[in-house]
Amino acid sequence: MSERSDAELIREVLKGDQASFEPLVVKYQGKVFATARRYAPNPSEAEDIVQEVFLKAFTKLGSFRGESPFEHWLMRLAVRTCFDHLRAKQRKKEYSYSELNEEQAEWLEQQARAPELNTENQEAVKSLVEKILSQLSPASRMVITLLEIEDRTIKEISEITGWSLPLVKVRAFRARAEMKKLLGRIAKDKYL
């Protein structure tokens, strides 16, 4: 039996065949997980986000007009869900400034001495990046991730997040300033 296309599966789901949604989940769950892990390094948080993304996708499938690929629509939903998650987390005040641990500080010092990136200690790098990004506001983290890390354009960010172009520019400016301020605090730290 030939593999059904996304459009065929979506049509079946909209007709009431819930089981046709499963192949879509299987096909795209890896990519949704990758996006969720960028904003939620905790495995259970990432799982909750992915589940929420697919639940939203299922309930809002009727609004998918098929003008762009299903994957793009789903990834937009994933990024927006991650943003909601960051905001909810901020409301619970889970963010707090914390100093770098010895391993992270050592890695940074090493980077300062030798510009060649040492990727040996991947876990330290990951936790360092997460520690810094987690101290940014949700909007700043979102913009820095999309603009600087994923290397997306302002227009792409606008399409993904649903923010207007001027709003993305303003948020990018604020995010860079916030990042600079945060890194200034770290630079003044005794380890550096």
Binding site: Q18, Q51, F58, A112, D151, L183
Partner: protein, 102 residues
């Protein structure tokens, strides 16, 4: 180290972290299970939502009906209380004349 250099290091490091696309075992089953729960019609929830929505219009209807009944009954009372007075005033000459005739 200044902030600029620190930022470059952090961004460069973040770019080198490859997004992990691994999926927990049978995760799609968990999602499909969640979808089934969503699709089940919550009759009690639906009923309570409908009751809440109907509460305000019901109270408004009750208040308006009460006001209307109050207004109309007070109008009726006024008429009832005035009737003997009118009757008395109208019939007094008749009564007097009939007494004289006797």
């Amino acid at each position: 180290m200044n902030e600029q250099k620190l930022q470059q290091i952090i961004i460069k490091a973040a770019r080198q972290i490859t997004p992990d696309e691994s999926v927990p075992y049978a995760f799609e089953k968990r999602i499909m299970q969640g979808l089934r729960k969503v699709s089940e019609v919550d009759v009690l929830g639906l009923w309570s939502r409908m009751l809440w929505r109907a509460a305000f219009p019901s109270v408004m209807v009750m208040v308006l009906t009460g006001a209307w009944v109050q207004y109309s009954s007070s109008e009726q009372n006024t008429v009832e209380m005035d009737m003997p007075d009118i009757e008395y005033a109208v019939l007094v000459p008749v009564d007097l004349s009939s007494e004289e005739n006797w």
